[in-house]
Symmetry: C2
Amino acid sequence: MKAQDYPAPVLELITRLKRMPGVGSRGAERFALWFLQHGRTDARALAAALQTAADVVSACPECGFFAQEGKLCTACDDPTRDSSLLCVVEQPTDVLPIERSGSFRGLYHCLGGKISPLDGVMPEDLSVQHLLERVHQHPGCEVILAVGSDVDGEATALYLAELLGRENCRISRIAQGIPAGAGLGHADAVTLMRALDGRRSLGS
Amino acid sequence: MKAQDYPAPVLELITRLKRMPGVGSRGAERFALWFLQHGRTDARALAAALQTAADVVSACPECGFFAQEGKLCTACDDPTRDSSLLCVVEQPTDVLPIERSGSFRGLYHCLGGKISPLDGVMPEDLSVQHLLERVHQHPGCEVILAVGSDVDGEATALYLAELLGRENCRISRIAQGIPAGAGLGHADAVTLMRALDGRRSLGS
């Protein structure tokens, strides 16, 4: 006698769900059973959405954010945006947090990563050449380096600052300091050092 | 200027992923971005698996466990199983935990729920008639009531025990007591009462 297991299509579904980040065997089984017991319509709708997204979503040819195949993303396609402001981020996923803050009205440039010799990521692996071309197209623009503040991010910012220093553009780096709403007790030494370094005078 | 958001197919994918149990907005976004950035092949494979599972998986016509459309499940299809033992569970998802324990070699019967007047679930909503038919087919069999030990589960077990009392079969209920590996300190009063009630004599 063989111990009973799920039918092959259910096991295949569990295997596929388990590939998702942070989903283990139990979670994948739970999702699969939910789809079978309560969500056949949801299963078909999710299947269609996955297929469509995998087929038609690609990188915006201008900035690298998500866009529909062969089209510009909504920011690059929006003539009311300030094309003299170019915000350089590591990943396309960094764009929306900035958008949602509502404090930026310029364009973006997604590098596709950060310089990290240990991981084998060199400047030529990133969208650096295209960044220079975009800066050429908008002489006098401001390039805001919004890459992360870890070691690799800082190295990337320094590298880009040096490279862009020869171009007709202003270069800035997003501020580092204590996060909004946080007490000093939770800030580490490096953050406090940078917050003090970057202090701004109040009053006239 | 409109704030940038994901392209429509990505938003649709996020919406669909969010329907999964326990997945919120952040989790759905994380899954969607993972599929787009690292898992296009995985996205297509999961889409196919969902479609197949939704199309070909149905309830075993005999016991109600998952089976491929039009076929018996592997347990009902296995002639080496002991057909004189019928384990009655609430849901198809209750079958595998028992299978995995390796301590049961009989057949199953999934009721499809438990009697719960407050939720509008009455005996006629469950697979009770078919259970009687199966008992008729195996005179002298033992019916093990393995429904849950909550109020509705107990009511269901009592109802079935009364109904099956008129049939040619033995009726048993799975034991209630302290879980394996647990100290008494963690057991509630009802569990302890039932563990004492169900005590077994040791020695000869």
